[in-house]
Homo-oligomer: 405 residues x 2
Amino acid sequence: MALIVQKYGGTSVAGAERIRNVARRIVQTKDQGNQVVVVVSAMGDTTDELLELAYQISERPDNRELDVLLSTGEVVSSTLLAMALHGMGYPAISLSGAQAGIRTDSAYSRARILQIEPKRVVRELERGNIVIVAGFQGITEDMDITTLGRGGSDTTAVALAAGLGAEVCQIYTDVNGVYSADPRLVPEARCLEEIHYEEMLEMATYGARVMHPRAVELGELFHIPILVASSFNEKPGTLIHGGVSMEVRNKVRSIAHNLDVGKITVVGVPDRPGIAASIFNPLAKAGINVDTIVQNASTQGITDLTFTVGKGDLARAMEVVKPIASQIGARECASDETLGAVSIIGTGMQNTPGFAARMFSTLSENNINIQLITTSEIRITCIIDAAQVQQAVRALHRAFDIEEK
Amino acid sequence: MALIVQKYGGTSVAGAERIRNVARRIVQTKDQGNQVVVVVSAMGDTTDELLELAYQISERPDNRELDVLLSTGEVVSSTLLAMALHGMGYPAISLSGAQAGIRTDSAYSRARILQIEPKRVVRELERGNIVIVAGFQGITEDMDITTLGRGGSDTTAVALAAGLGAEVCQIYTDVNGVYSADPRLVPEARCLEEIHYEEMLEMATYGARVMHPRAVELGELFHIPILVASSFNEKPGTLIHGGVSMEVRNKVRSIAHNLDVGKITVVGVPDRPGIAASIFNPLAKAGINVDTIVQNASTQGITDLTFTVGKGDLARAMEVVKPIASQIGARECASDETLGAVSIIGTGMQNTPGFAARMFSTLSENNINIQLITTSEIRITCIIDAAQVQQAVRALHRAFDIEEK
């Protein structure tokens, strides 16, 4: 008898029929002799509807109150799923994040999980219950409700799997798994059978939206294998884990892309210590997430500093940076929102030369100009013209030989 | 500085505009130098919508899950009201029933309050917060969420007022207060300035829907004055308390009526011990609430047993009673759903003869036939033809001289 944690996303529980469908899938797992803990998101557009209510009342709703408000969405879907299981004759019980022992800090709207105290979950499992836990939420030391922010329900699921020592955490969603590239751009992209945590992390960070990096990180930390699969069919999905075989690892595994790229260049910056800090500290304080930072080699004490942010943050970032740029004596401050990013990812790239060269020549053969390059041990990212991103993804997918076999 | 508990019903918080209106009223009370605790119901039709969701999933949703589901409605409105107060520049915090320390038994869907442990409420008041408590809900010893059933939010408010030692519990609703009779039936009915707990209890039980008897009972037990007033205007409302002056008490205070009357008569019952129990125990087990029981004087060892139930329970009650009636050798079992009840109520009726006589002769003068009579110390109720109820209420209102002065 294994303990399995499953997570179902908002699309999978949007409406009575889909909730019953999810219940049938849970029952299959239970009937195979497993103990099952299920984490659910809020139904369909519930979270947006609750947000709309809040913004009808207040332009700047208080974060604590907003968290309590939003947390009701997952509570609703968890009770309905428990009722659907009862209707099929299976004992089940819904628990809020608080009842499931998801202890967090008190950073409302983006709380971090401090600890899992799953006593109640264990007790209900021992009673033979299927345990349905409301995702995306936790509770502080003061017994105040928090929400976990982006990727919250995935994070709840992986954290619970870690806290309970589950065999696997299964993330059911509306796609078939993790693809070698976005299948909307690359029809020949293939659904990967397995992928290493680190590859998934890079993919999640650099464009693939199927899982939030935060949940993947947690999975890696606690050695919890994560299966990503569709709740709408029986396809096997993709297993994210640490034991991917050597053969498979020794190549580029996927092409990620991202069209949400805004670029800011501070031109002609006097190159002296503290300049970078004077720009990026205020951005961090303004809550703006900076993706990529590149500083060109300094010529005669003058350098160009370039960085990217989400397009939604571009205007605000310019407001922050412009006055600083003139204070530090930079020549100019320019922004560009016509860009996109394309990345090749694979643990096989470690200690193996030639990947970068092949990427650059493939782009060059396609007349694609590279504006910025950044790399990690297992990833190379090029910032290019947004209009050429699709062409780049397809060309790279072909060049690195990762088509469906 | 007084501590005041206010309760706002679902109609009063249906939509952003009404929530802001409620916030303005709360702020007035706060600005007068009071500490304010506010209990809210779910917005408008929320509870019905959640119920509909549940019944889409299951014909017989589990009571525990249903309670968790329904409890989200009051949590939503409590957070929105807190946000509205923030928007007006007032510190406020929402608390769930659990956080406010509403401890109940585990009778899901109709839990009884065992105890109030309002530590958190007190702490938030001391911090200067207006405290908004989600009504209608509590928490068991096992930290499971319960709902309080009918009159739940009123009961939360009065119980909190008792637990906190509040000066008054103000129930804001969509009527101006407690009337001497239903103003839709009797245009000259007047809104009472004050009324005794016991009178209100009889009125609530015998037809007036403005407050649930349960909350009134609690108010009487803990000596909490309860003001019933409209949230839509500034009229003074009705104060329910124990100190109503002698003069005012020495008369009929109001005429209540009820059109939800189903009558069952078991005809020709052998009059021997245990017969009543054999009928009413199974009804109680079936969860059917019996309002009035009358047994006619026995003639030659044969008696007729008559009782009333809500019309919604009539068919089910007949199913329960019919087989029993034949078992105990009754001649026949008949039901009637064309009836209504009219009551005169007033603590002044205690120890004062003549009220019953005047009631019966007033009905007789209006050609209204009385089918059943029941009385308490401060109430006389006659079951009559439903079609004559309005006429009866108006005639009695005139006869007992309780018109608007």
